[in-house]
Amino acid sequence: MSSKIVMKNIFKNYGAVQALRGVSIDIKEGDVHAICGDNGAGKSTLIKILSGVETPESGELWVSNSARKFTSPTDALTSGIATIHQDLAVAPRMTIAQNIFMGAELTKKVLGVTLLDKPAMRRDALGYMSQLNKSITDMDTKVEALSGGQSQAVAICRALRWNADIVILDEPTAALGVRETEQVLELIRALKHAGKTVILISHAMKDVVAVADRVSILRRGENQIDLDAANLTADALSHYILSGDRDSRAA
């Protein structure tokens, strides 16, 4: 499989604090690639760089085989990278369709006046949603009426609307119960099925081993280890993160 995102030797400082000290990660196209590590390992900084919020001091970023320098979140979006933050940034009292098309509403001309094309937005919203969750069919439902997992689906649909082929999910299951977590894992599988590359940042080891193809563990701003997630257990993953053990394959 070809590489979708390649980061080489990324450095990022905040004043005297070295958040990233030469991180290199290779993310394959169509993979669910988890990034793990304890608090302060550099996960958030890495995501900020990938989503264009922060600019690294040095290092290379390649997306789909071309070198990129993101100076704003828009740069990342136009390169096909959409980031879904933990807070989702949905407007609960607006409808699913309104949320998915927020800021990029579809319009039509009526008697020379540009008006919203609500039927088209409903139809397209349903198209995006059906890739993720076939049980949500009424695009006029207010988001406040949805479960946490379903709201996540709305946030992801918004990413799909941007034609993103790389979706970053930042702690998507952190605030969710067991059933909702399962819904989100289903969403991640659906994204993979739709050919998207997914970058998953998570503290939940069980979730990571359930959906990830590969796992990169960061520790104090450096790569610690890259793992194939195929036969990985949650306990083994925890052990790697806690022990900082680069070599042992104990578990």
């Binding site: 940034a89 009292r93 800021g103 990029a104 008006l115």
Partner: protein, 310 residues
Amino acid sequence: MIEKYGTFFAGIALFVFLLIFADNFASVANLLNILKQASFLSILAIGFTFALITSELDLSFANICSLSGVIVGMMIFNGLPWPLAVVAGIGLGTLAGVLNGFLVTVLKVPSLIATLGTSSVANGLAFMLTGGVAFVGRWDPNFLFLARGKLGPVPLIVIVLVVVVGIALVFSTQTRAGVHLQATGENEEAARRAGINTRRNKVIGLALSGAAAGFTAVLLVANLSSAAPQMGGDFMLLGIAATLLGMTMFTPAKPNILGTVVGALIIVMLGNGLILLGAQYYVQDIMLGIIIIASVAVSASTLKQAAFSL
């Protein structure tokens, strides 16, 4: 059903009640008068509604209305052409709204405080310009026609209201700019991340409130052929009550244009009916207060968010 149309049906019940029990309520002259008063109030309150849609309060619209009215009256009084005075009145209101927007988005003063301040400034300026006395005169009949004219049996002001409501309704629900105002009010951070210029939208919301105040001022001056420094004052509570009552209708807990218009009708009808039923003048104030509190209690409203974002 009850949630969406309960207040609306209560309004109809009130109408029927007054038709039966209030002497003279059912006369054509009285009903037309109610319609006319409700038109002034609706246009003013539609402005406030737009500010509230972006989750900002505007407590200055009534005094801005007074100030705009004083400017209109002063210009006509001094012999300037009335169309110029009309443009100046609406322009001044809009400008005051933009100033409110600047205070809120650039200086980060919460709208509750910022508009309380501009309200006081506008009030002071209105008294300064008039010396406390109203501009009165025999003004151009064409100017007075704006508020007093009739097309057939229908007062022109009612037609103006229908046009204003139509434009406001289409703008707020059927255009990108309109839903961007709504998104800004519903979740500013989400709207900003979706590429919507939320600051500009808050300025637009407050500017529309000011523009509506200026336009209402023109109509009020034409109706009274006088411009007093306190002419808009009474409209503050009425306008807020109409909008909040409107939020209990059609799209519950959200400020909306149709709700505001029906709210204004109910409030004017109630005030009129109370007098015809022989209630004392102070009863209306008590009712207004109750309506304001009850409406917000009923809606888990954006007003709560706005007021508590201090």
